[in-house]
Amino acid sequence: MGLLSLIVFLPLLGAIILLLFPQGADKAIRMFSLLIFAVVFVISLPLYFNFDSTLSTLQFEEQIQWIEGINASYHIGVDGISVLLVLLTTFLGPIVCLSTWTNVQIRIKEFYISLLMLQTGMLGAFVAFDLLLFYIFWEVMLIPMFLLIGVWGAENRIYAAVKFFLFTMVGSLFMFLAGLYLYNVVGSFELTVLYDAVTTHSIPADVQFWLFAAFALSFAIKVPVFPLHTWLPDAHVQAPTAGSVILAGILLKMGTYGFIRFAIPLFPDAVVVFAPYMSTLAAIGIIYGALMALAQTDMKKLIAYSSVSHLGYVVLGLFAFNEAGKLSLHGAEGAIYQMLNHGLSTGALFLLVGVIYERRHTKAIAEFGGLAKVMPIYATIFMITMLSSIGLPGLNGFIGEFLILLGAFSANMTFGILGALGVVLGAVYMLVLYQRTFFGQITNDKNKDLKDLSLREVVVFIPLIIMMVVMGIFPNFFLSKMHATIEALPNIEIFVR
C-alpha cells in the first residue's frame, strides 16, 4: 500500500470508524473528521514537494491486477495535472470540515460520513489511470453528494438532489457504453494502453466522433457547459454550504479534468472537429453565465452562475486549438490554473455566503447593505476573494484568465474577444454584488447587531486568502509542475504562440 492509496482511502477508513461513534458525541465526531481531513492534507504534501516536474510520466505509481479476465487493474498515480488537483482536494478538505462546525445541527454523524466518503471518491477519480477504476470513483462520489444536498439542503432539496443525480447519471451511462466500446477495440481499460492504441490510429475517425460525443456529453454535464448547466444553480442553492463549496471547488473540476485526461487525448481526430463547437459553447457559457449572474437576487445563485461563466473559461482554454489542429500551451495551462483558482475563490465565496446565511438565514441580496460597517473583517475577506474571482492582477484569478485569453487569441481571435468581454461582465456583477451588500448605510435593522467573524471562521479563511496571494504572485511555482505533462500529452500537438 503506497502513499497514494493511503491518501485516497484514509477518508473512507475514517468514515467507517465514524460509524462506531455513539450518537450524540457531536464534538468528538467533528474533531475526528477534522483530524482525518488534516492528516490527509499533511500526508499529501510530499506528493507535491517530491514531485519531479521535469518528468511527464506517472509518479507515485501503484499497479495491482484487479479483474484479470477483463484486463482491469488498480492503477493509480499522479502526473503534473492530477497532482495539483489532488492537492486542491486535500487542501479544501479540512477547510470545509472546519466551516461546518456550527451550521450542521442534524444527523451530524451521517453528515461527516458523507463528507469523508466524498473525499475518497474525488481523490480516487483524480488519481485513477484505469478507465474502469475512474468510472467507479466518478460514480461513487455521486451518492454522498446526493445525500449532502438531499438531506441537509434547503426547502427544495429533494428536487435539486434528484436532478443533480439524474443529470450526471445520464451523461455517465453514455460514457460507460463508449468506454466498453473502446475496451472492445483495444482490449484493455488501462489508460496508457489506450493512449498507445490511439497513437497507432487503431480507432477510425468516424467511430471517434461517437465516442468523443459520449465522453464529452458526460464531462460537459459535469462541468457544466452551456446548455447542460441547468442542474447547477438548483444544486448550489439547495445544497448546504459545505456541499456547495465541494461542488464548486472540486466536483465541477471533475468534468474539465475528464476532458484533458480522457476526451481530448483519446480521440484526437474528433477533438479537432469538435473544438470550434466546444469553444462556441464555452464562449456562450461565459457571456450567458455572467449576464445571468447580473440578474440574480440570491447570492448563492449569483455565484452559481458565475461558476458557469468561470468554467466556460476553463473549457475555452482546453479547446484552444488553432487551425492546424494544435492545442495552445497557454490555453491548456491557463485552463488548469483556472481550475485551481476557481476552486479557491468560488469555494471561498460560497463559504462567505454560508457565514452570512448562518447569521441571517437568508441569502437575498436585498436584505443586506452597509455590512462593511458592522463586519469589517468579513468585508475585507469578501473583498479579497471577490477581487481574486474577477481576476485582479496580483491575485490568482488574473494568471489563469490571462493565460486562457492568450491561448484563445492565438488560436482564434473571435473566441478571444468574447472571452475578454466576459472578464468585463465578471467585474460588473461581482462589484455590484459587493456594493449592494457592503457599502452605504445599514438599511435593514436586522443587520445592526451582526457579529463579525469568529476566530474559527477567520482560521477557515486565512489559508484560502494566503493561497490566493501566493498563486497570484508566484504562478511559476505551480505552472512548472504541469508544464512537462502538458507538453507530453499523448496524441495532441502543442503550439506556444
Binding site: 491486477q65 484487479w66 479483474i67 484479470e68 479476465g69 477483463i70 444527523r107 474502469l132 468510472y135 467507479i136 470513483f137 466518478w138 460514480e139 461513487v140 455521486l142 451518492i143 446526493f146 445525500l147 438531499g150 438531506v151 432539496r157 429533494i158 438532489a161 434528484v162 443525480f165 439524474l166 447519471m169 445520464v170 451511462l173 453514455f174 460507460f176 457504453l177 466498453l180 466500446y181 475496451y183 472492445n184
Partner: protein, 470 residues
C-alpha cells in the same frame, strides 16, 4: 460417485420429510424453530456437497444427469438464494402470525427441483425438476391463506404456470418426435422443421418462467400477493434454475438454430427492459416495483443471452454472473422490506433514521439494483453490456442503457423516501430476528465483494461454458 451426485438433492428431500415429521412430535413455536434449524442446516450441507461436485464433468444414470461445472455453479447460486430466502422467512411468518412449518418443507422441495433442473442431462429430468419446483411454489405463493391477494396470486400463478408447462411439454414432444431422443446433448444432431416449432414452444415455457415480456403479466400480481420471502425466492431461485436449464437446452440442443432464437431473444430482451423499467416508475408499492424491476433485469440477462449467438462463452458467463449478483441484491432488498414491515413508498419515509442499519441495507441494495459502481449490480451490468457491445448488439445496448437511466429514477426515489422525507412517527419499529439480520449482512457482503473484488468468482465462471458442451 454415481450416488454422490444426487446427495445434494437427496439431503434436501430428507430434510423436507424431517420437517414434516417434526410437526407430529412437537408443539407450539418450538416446531417452527426446529424446522428452520433443520432447513438451514440441510441447505448448508447441500451447498457443501454440491461444492464437491466441481470438476466432475460426467453424465450419470444414462444421461439423465449431466454434472458439469456450469450446472454445479448455478445449483450453488440457487442454493445460496434458497438459504438467504429461508433466513428472511421467520421474521415474516412472525409478522403475519401464520405459523405452519410446512412452509419450510415446501421451500426445501422447491430447492430440490431447482438442483435437478440445473444438472439435468435429458428433457425428462428437466421437466420433473421444473414441476417439483413449480408446484411447491404455487402452494407457497398462496401460503398466506387468510389474505385475498395471496390467494389470487397463487391461483393466477398456478393457472398460467400450468398453461406454460403445457406449452413446454408440447415443445418437448415435438423435439422428441423430430430427433427421437430426449438426451440434450444428442438432440442437436437433428435437422428438421419440427425442431423449430418445438423450439418456439420451449421458448414460451422458458420466457414465462423467467417473467419476460410478453409473458410478464403474472409477475406483478404474483410478486405482490405472495408472502414476501417467497417473492424473493421466486426472484432468485426460480430465475436461476430457469436460466440454467434453458441456457443448457438452447445453447446445446439448439446450437443449429441460432438465427431463430437470436432474433426472438433480442426482441424480447429489449421489450422486457423497456416495459419493466418504464412501468416501474409509476409503482408506489415496493413489491410491485421490484416485480417490474425483475422483468427489466430479466431483459438484461436476455440481452447477454442473445449475444451468446456468436460468443456463447461470454454470453453464458455474463448471465451466470448477473444471476449471482442479482441473488444477493434482491434478497437484501426484500429482507429490508420485511424488516420495515411496510410495503409502500409512503410508509417507509424516514425509515433509515428509525433503523439505521436496515435503512442502509435497503439503500445499498437499491443502489445495487440501479447498477451504481462499487456494487454487485454494476459489475453484473458491466459484463452484460460488455458482451453485448462485443457482439455488436449496438441498438439493443443503447436502448438498454437508456432504460437503465430510467430505472435510476425509481430506484433513487426509494432512497429519497428512506433518507429525505419526513419520518412517519406513528408506526413503531418492528422487532427483527437474528436470521434476518444475518441474511442482510450476507447480502451486503455479497454485494460489495462481487462489486469490488469479483476476480475469483469470474475466474470460475469463465470456465463453465466449456463444460456444458457434449
Amino acid at each position: 460417485m454415481q450416488f454422490q451426485v444426487i446427495y445434494p438433492g437427496t439431503i434436501l428431500v430428507v430434510a423436507a420429510i424431517l420437517v414434516l415429521m417434526v410437526q407430529g412430535f412437537m408443539k407450539g413455536d418450538k416446531r417452527l424453530s426446529v424446522s428452520i434449524v433443520i432447513s438451514v442446516a440441510s441447505v448448508i450441507v447441500a451447498i457443501a456437497l454440491m461444492w464437491q461436485l466441481f470438476d466432475v464433468n460426467q453424465t450419470f444414470f444414462k444421461n439423465a444427469l449431466k454434472v458439469d461445472d456450469f450446472g454445479v455453479f448455478l445449483a450453488l447460486v440457487a442454493l445460496v438464494g434458497t438459504l438467504l430466502s429461508l433466513l428472511i422467512s421467520a421474521t415474516y411468518l412472525d409478522q403475519i402470525k401464520f405459523k405452519h412449518a410446512e412452509y419450510y418443507a415446501l421451500m426445501l422441495l422447491a430447492a430440490t427441483g431447482m438442483v435437478f433442473m440445473t444438472i439435468s442431462g435429458d428433457l425428462l429430468t428437466f421437466l420433473i425438476g421444473l414441476e417439483i419446483m413449480s408446484i411447491s411454489i404455487y402452494i407457497l405463493a398462496g401460503f398466506n391463506r387468510d389474505d385475498v391477494k395471496s390467494n389470487e396470486s397463487a391461483m393466477k400463478y398456478f393457472i398460467l404456470g400450468a398453461f406454460s408447462t403445457g406449452f413446454l411439454l408440447f415443445g418437448i414432444s415435438l423435439v422428441y418426435g423430430a430427433s427421437g431422443t430426449i438426451i440434450i446433448s444428442e438432440i442437436g444432431q437433428t435437422q428438421s422443421p419440427l425442431m423449430i416449432i418445438g423450439l418456439g414452444f420451449i421458448l414460451v415455457g422458458f420466457l414465462f418462467k423467467v417473467g419476460a415480456v410478453p409473458f410478464q403479466g403474472w409477475v406483478p400480481d404474483v410478486y405482490e400477493g405472495s408472502p414476501t420471502p417467497i417473492t424473493a425466492f421466486m426472484a432468485v431461485g426460480v430465475k436461476t434454475a430457469g436460466f440454467a436449464a434453458f441456457i443448457r437446452i438452447i445453447l446445446v440442443a439448439f446450437s443449429g438454430y441460432t438465427e431463430e432464437w437470436f432474433m426472438v431473444l433480442q426482441i424480447v430482451a429489449v421489450l422486457s427492459m423497456i416495459v419493466g423499467n418504464v412501468i416501474a416508475i409509476s409503482q408506489r408499492n415496493l413489491k410491485r416495483l421490484l416485480a417490474y424491476s425483475s422483468i427489466a433485469h430479466t431483459g438484461y440477462m436476455l440481452l447477454a443471452f442473445a449475444a451468446a449467438k456468436t460468443d456463447p462463452n461470454m454470453g453464458s458467463s455474463s448471465i451466470i454472473f448477473y444471476l449471482f449478483t442479482y441473488t444477493f441484491t434482491v434478497v437484501g432488498a426484500f429482507a429490508a422490506i420485511i424488516a420495515s414491515g411496510k410495503e409502500t413508498l409512503e410508509d417507509i419515509a424516514g425509515y433509515a433514521y428509525k433503523k439505521k442499519l436496515m435503512g442502509a441495507v435497503m439503500a445499498i441494495c437499491f443502489f445495487s439494483l440501479a447498477g451504481i459502481p462499487s456494487t454487485a449490480g454494476f459489475m453484473g451490468k458491466l459484463f452484460v453490456f460488455m458482451t453485448a457491445i462485443d457482439q455488436q448488439l449496438y441498438w439493443a445496448s443503447i436502448i438498454g442503457i437508456i432504460t437503465s437511466m430510467v430505472s435510476v429514477y425509481y430506484y433513487l426515489r426509494v432512497v429519497v423516501y428512506l433518507y429525505m422525507k419526513q419520518e412517519d412517527e406513528t408506526a413503531g419499529a418492528l422487532a427483527i430476528h437474528w436470521d434476518l439480520g444475518l441474511a442482510s449482512v450476507l447480502s451486503v457482503a455479497g454485494i460489495f465483494v462481487l462489486g469490488l473484488i469479483p476476480q475469483s468468482v469470474i475466474q470460475i465462471i469463465l470456465t463453465t461454458y466449456q463444460t456444458i458442451l457434449p
